[in-house]
């Protein structure tokens, strides 16, 4: 494990001990079975305890955990028959945001999502899941194709943000995101968005205008990174934990605020520890919503989406 999270130490220690014991056991040097069973129960309890009291700042760390499943993992774990479609038909093919036809159970969908790498090399290729304008334009192209083929769109959100680079600015990062927000608002097929890891600002929202917006329990979704916010509003990046708290970026807060529609629970210990279990839960929640949305007429669907986003925000009048 490249990065150990401080607050996970009690879990990690027990996990290491158990691993050693199991190794012994598997090599025939046994006699630890009852100890193993005891420790397993203890581990379960510790995981629950640690994850029950998790802070927003700790959630940020889980959401960014290098072992947290990325889109490629979900494509393998719960989707079938993925046909990746490349390119924005204009400038390039963004490797940080990918998409294509896919099956989820018996539902045919257009799958689109940020795509972080799993190691340094892959992350360089995929720009750490930070898309350039051509990524957003590819996403829009695929959404329009979905509209033509009458397929619901499923988006997976996991990005620190849209890439802040010279080339990305030159090619209109702002226009690309604004265009997606505009076109998604009126897309004539259902859109289910799932925040799976980091939901970083406009770069997340750029594929996030869903009829239903779901969120993994330990994902985050925020207008700005806690570090960035602390730097600006506290004038000191070390106040990131306070900023994380203030920004209300956890799934529970976002459900309260009406920004997301449902939390997809992760096992205590998180998706990075239990990827398949997390994926299975996600699969059934997404499928449930796809089926519900599929029953709506296009007119009703679009009207609902407009009303949904019209109602976002709180103000005094």
């Amino acid at each position: 494990m490249e990065r150990e999270l401080d607050f996970e130490k009690p879990i990690l220690e027990l996990e290491k001990t158990l691993e050693k014991l199991r190794h012994h056991e598997s090599q025939g040097r046994g006699g630890h079975r009852s100890l193993i069973e005891t420790l397993e129960k203890q581990l379960d309890a510790v995981r629950k305890e640690v994850y029950r009291n998790i802070t927003p700042w700790q959630t940020v760390q889980i959401a960014r955990h290098p072992h947290r499943p990325v889109l490629r993992d979900y494509i393998e774990d719960i989707f079938t028959d993925f046909v990746e479609l490349h390119g924005d038909r204009c400038f390039g093919d963004d490797h940080g945001l990918i998409g294509g036809f896919a099956m989820l159970g018996d539902e045919k969908v257009m799958l689109i999502g940020h795509n972080k790498g799993k190691n340094v090399e892959e992350n360089i290729k995929r720009n750490f899941g930070m898309s350039r304008p051509e990524g957003y334009r590819k996403a829009l192209r695929l959404m329009r194709l979905a509209e033509k083929y009458n397929l619901p769109v499923v988006t997976f959100i996991d990005t620190a943000g849209a890439f802040p680079g010279l080339d990305a600015e030159e090619r209109g990062q702002h226009e690309a995101i604004g265009r997606n927000l505009t076109e998604m608002a009126r897309l004539q097929v259902p859109i289910v968005a799932v925040v799976t890891g980091e939901g970083g600002s406009g770069g997340a929202l750029g594929i996030g205008v869903g009829d239903v917006v779901l969120m993994l329990q330990y994902a985050i979704y925020s207008v700005i990174s806690p570090e960035g916010c602390a730097g600006i509003l506290w004038r000191d990046g070390s106040f990131s934990a306070q900023a994380a708290e203030a920004l209300k970026l956890t799934s529970a807060s976002l459900l309260d605020l009406g920004v997301i529609d449902e939390i997809i629970p992760e096992p205590p210990g998180g998706a990075h520890r239990f990827p398949q279990q997390t994926a299975d839960t996600m699969r059934s929640v997404v499928l449930k919503h796809l089926k519900e949305l599929g029953a709506l007429t296009t007119v009703k669907l679009c009207a609902r989406r407009f009303e949904k986003f019209s109602a976002m925000g709180k103000f005094i009048e």
Partner: protein, 285 residues
């Protein structure tokens, strides 16, 4: 006497130098007579650098006298996150901005006439929390869009904003989707939407309604980028070109239709509006 009188308010927002007679141009760094600057619509008489305008000033400059009719003026920020940062609670900042500007939100919306042509407009004011996109801002921009849609009136938004309003957290981000939903509906109904980008139009505003106009007009030299200059420099470890993220930069890169001097803005808007062919084609067989 200029086209509008000096106000306490404006004095706050201009960087004054030495005394109250002179003002230092942020473009050419020359000292120019304040009165000349005001008389020239807050444009430097020496280098044509465009200074900021308040919403009221912009409205005076754009709409036929006495025709601007404000809507939803009472909408103001709430504090949905009970947000407190290193410098204190959000609510205090809002109160300060309200007192300072006499405005309730970072945008003023309403209807008005441009050389007789009735339009709906949103005019942002950078003095109000840096023109940030809060829930109230988004609500007003959407309501004005809906009004334009319903009455088939062209919609014009003058942007001036540092981006999303962090103090409202994710709800601020959602205003990007909310306002764009309004723009999408206008487009569906074939109602014109003209976006005017003024200095600065960045972050969440540039990445939502500001760059998806039928026509995107910018004032000269306006900063109209997405990401912050320093963030980019840190990320790519590279010096950025001088004109980076200006109107002129984005004109060349294909995102701005035209750059228009403040003096010609009203007439240009009028000319563009004149091309909206309301009568419609026959759609029968």
């Amino acid at each position: 006497m200029g086209w509008f009188s000096k106000s306490e308010v404006r004095r706050d927002t201009q960087k004054l130098s030495r005394d109250d007679i002179w003002i230092r141009c942020q473009g050419c760094r020359a000292h120019v007579f304040k009165q000349d600057y005001y008389d020239n619509l807050n444009v430097c008489p020496k280098c044509s650098w465009h200074g900021k305008l308040t919403a009221a000033e912009r409205i005076n400059l754009t709409f036929d006298a006495g025709t601007f009719d404000e809507m939803n003026a009472s909408i103001r920020p709430s504090d949905p996150l009970s947000f407190v940062d290193g410098k204190g609670p959000y609510t205090e900042k809002v109160e300060q901005s309200r007192v300072k500007t006499g405005l309730n939100e970072s945008v003023v919306t309403g209807t008005g006439r441009i050389n007789g042509v009735q339009v709906v407009a949103g005019v942002m004011d950078f003095r109000f929390l840096g023109g940030s996109l809060g829930s109230g801002t988004g609500e007003k921009i959407l309501r004005a869009a809906n009004y334009a849609c319903e009455h088939k009136l062209p919609y014009i938004v003058f942007s001036a904003s540092g981006g999303a309003r962090m103090h409202e957290g994710i709800l601020s981000l959602m205003q990007m989707a909310k306002t764009c939903a309004g723009i999408a509906r206008l487009d569906e109904k074939k109602v014109p939407y003209i976006s005017v980008l003024t200095d600065p139009t960045t972050g969440g505003v540039s990445a939502s309604y500001a760059l998806v106009g039928d026509v995107n007009i910018a004032e000269p030299g306006a900063l109209v980028g997405f990401a912050g200059r320093r963030v980019i420099e840190v990320t790519i470890k590279q010096k950025l070109p001088d004109n980076f993220q200006t109107s002129e930069f984005f004109l060349e890169h294909g995102f701005i239709d035209c750059i228009v001097h403040r003096k010609e803005m009203k007439q240009t808007l009028y000319r563009i509006l004149s091309y909206y062919n309301r009568s419609g084609r026959h759609h029968g067989t």
